[in-house]
Symmetry: none
Subunit: 208 residues, 4 copies
């Protein structure tokens, strides 16, 4: 019973957060959304921050489930039997899918990126989120590099940071302007990346 109520409050917080944003969401809003008395939200969560961090984590859970269900490994070490390029291709497709299906979550996450710059608790949650997501890209990048004829100058982590960054930047553009062609941007990114992976790297890159 207690756990159910707690869950109801966290779910309500997630919905309220997506609808109104971090700072426009009050504890009263959440309690009303959950259909409980205001005091009860504070009974389960000492502060508003604590509740909202729980709501963010709750929001991320289905996304991570989805990833592992798609055969994208959540931890280091390329899963056996999944070709590196194939995994990468799936990653790009999944990203497009995600941009369509998890708009709510992206709204929340982007909101938190702003909040996290001024709020340590939220900042820590955001940092963890980025680290986790970027690691997924890193794993694939590493596997792809292993198959490249000439090794790139950049490390797998640096490449992953650039690619995850692009995913995030594309998501932001889509969020702020629903008419934005996110699929096109991801496809362009994929085209660039696969050309790079196929061609090998470094020898023709102009550097100072």
């Amino acid at each position: 019973m207690a756990d159910q109520t707690r869950d109801r409050i966290v779910d309500a917080a997630y919905r309220a957060l997506v609808k109104r944003g971090y700072h426009e969401t009050s504890m009263k809003d959440i309690a009303e959304e959950a259909g409980v008395a205001l005091g009860l939200a504070h009974y389960y969560f000492e502060t508003k921050e604590d509740l909202l961090v729980a709501a963010i984590e709750r929001g991320c859970a289905p996304l991570l489930d989805e990833l592992s269900r798609q055969g994208i490994p959540l931890d280091a070490g390329m899963s056996v039997g999944l070709d590196a390029f194939e995994a990468a291709r799936r990653g790009f497709e999944l990203t497009k899918e995600e941009l369509r299906r998890y708009r709510e979550l992206h709204i929340l996450v982007n909101d938190m990126f702003g909040v996290g710059l001024h709020n340590p608790k939220i900042g820590a949650a955001v940092r963890q989120f980025i680290t986790e997501r970027r690691a997924l890209v890193s794993v694939i990048a590493l596997a792809v590099i292993a198959r490249m004829p000439r090794k790139p100058a950049a490390s797998a982590d640096a490449i992953a940071a650039a690619i995850w960054g692009a995913f995030h930047g594309i998501a932001v553009q889509k969020l702020i302007d629903p008419a934005f062609d996110a699929d096109g941007a991801v496809d362009a990114l994929a085209e660039i990346v696969f050309t790079f992976a196929a061609a090998g790297a470094a020898q023709e890159t102009p550097r100072r």
Copy 2:
């Protein structure tokens, strides 16, 4: 005289915004930072929002000045005499420079991205900011494509969206974690992009 006062208030708002974040900045904070009475801020700006939008625009101005001073064109049409690849190279270098020198502005912009998702006025300012910045990348992308042996499947705009997105995503990672190697990520991005530009495109990209 009146304009000077107005400017002082906008400047103060910018400083307060960067220091404390959108939601932690009060009109009183701004008035104090500007050294004027609280009422005066409301004399020049009907609402807090209006003032903060003006502050954001003010904050972006010096950055755009810098770009044109560097020979990066602010409008369409590649400036005569600047080689496309050279412009691109300068763009990447400038981005790294910007990540170092304009941390304040990036904090503000990222904060605004969060706010803009739930606040139409701020949203419009953010949309304009993105559009302007992305257009810069587009111009260069167009020039580079013109020199590519085989034309890519993706449009210059789509490529620009991906690359600007990556810039933004890298900036976010740097903001949230000061230890993040932003230069490495930008270099990795440059390596990928230049390989792509040199190799031509499309023929080897695996597509479904």
Copy 3:
């Protein structure tokens, strides 16, 4: 068993009261201090006030035990065989001792004096406390007067009120400022009182 639990709660209330003060002590604090569920405190005590009154009474008990152990009579009628002056001397010494050893209790009592002025239930407990303590002084005062060559104009009760008042006033000064020399003040009081007792009284007191 039930009584033991009740006692544990009252003891916990006393400790919490001393530690945090009347108004900063919540029922939850007390329940936690006692290691019982919040509801149980309300099972034994209808209101917070009732519990705190019980805690005050509990706190006073060891002090009264101490007094009777020292041969100071708790009720009227000078105990046989204890010289009046000797009893008085012991009273002053005991007061000094008490100021050192029962700081906790004095904090509580002083807190209650403040609360009691605005809260009838606590007020009644405080009144009873004063009455009991002052009566001890009265008994000794009566015995001392009986041995004075010339009887004072003031009644034993009035004298006891002044002396107990001084004890309390000295305790307050000590509580509010730990550097205060309470022993010195009690010694000064004793010097004054014994001079008075020895000299007889009234004839030289200037009165209007």
Copy 4:
């Protein structure tokens, strides 16, 4: 205008404080008592504590005025032409008068003694109050001692601490029980003290 409003709020705080006690008095109570909006009380005083400290000081002011009007010196150095014993006699009379006329203030002060034990800001205000008042007694005690044939073992400060303590203790008894004979207690104290002053001291005091 601003100062008038501020004063109205402080006065209202004083009245509310006396009526309800420190912890039962809310900022809303005070604002209503003053006839102003709640926010205004916070406009003039950052915290409730700050306002209540101001209210205590305000409450003490008329009392200190009264004392100096009566020829009781507020600082060290016996005022010329006022005989020490006469000053002492006036002090006792004034104390009785005060107990009758300043009941409200004593309620407030006693309340603060309780609060001050757990609240540093209030504690500091209380400490200052005690120090000031006790100093008045010290000045007179010093003058009286100067005229005593045999000097007492106790210092003037210790004696003043005992006597001021008695004043306070008597006030407490009167506050907590309106039927208490405060005049009788002060008279008894005066009788004791004057006998002591007239007889000289120390030689007959029984000491261990």
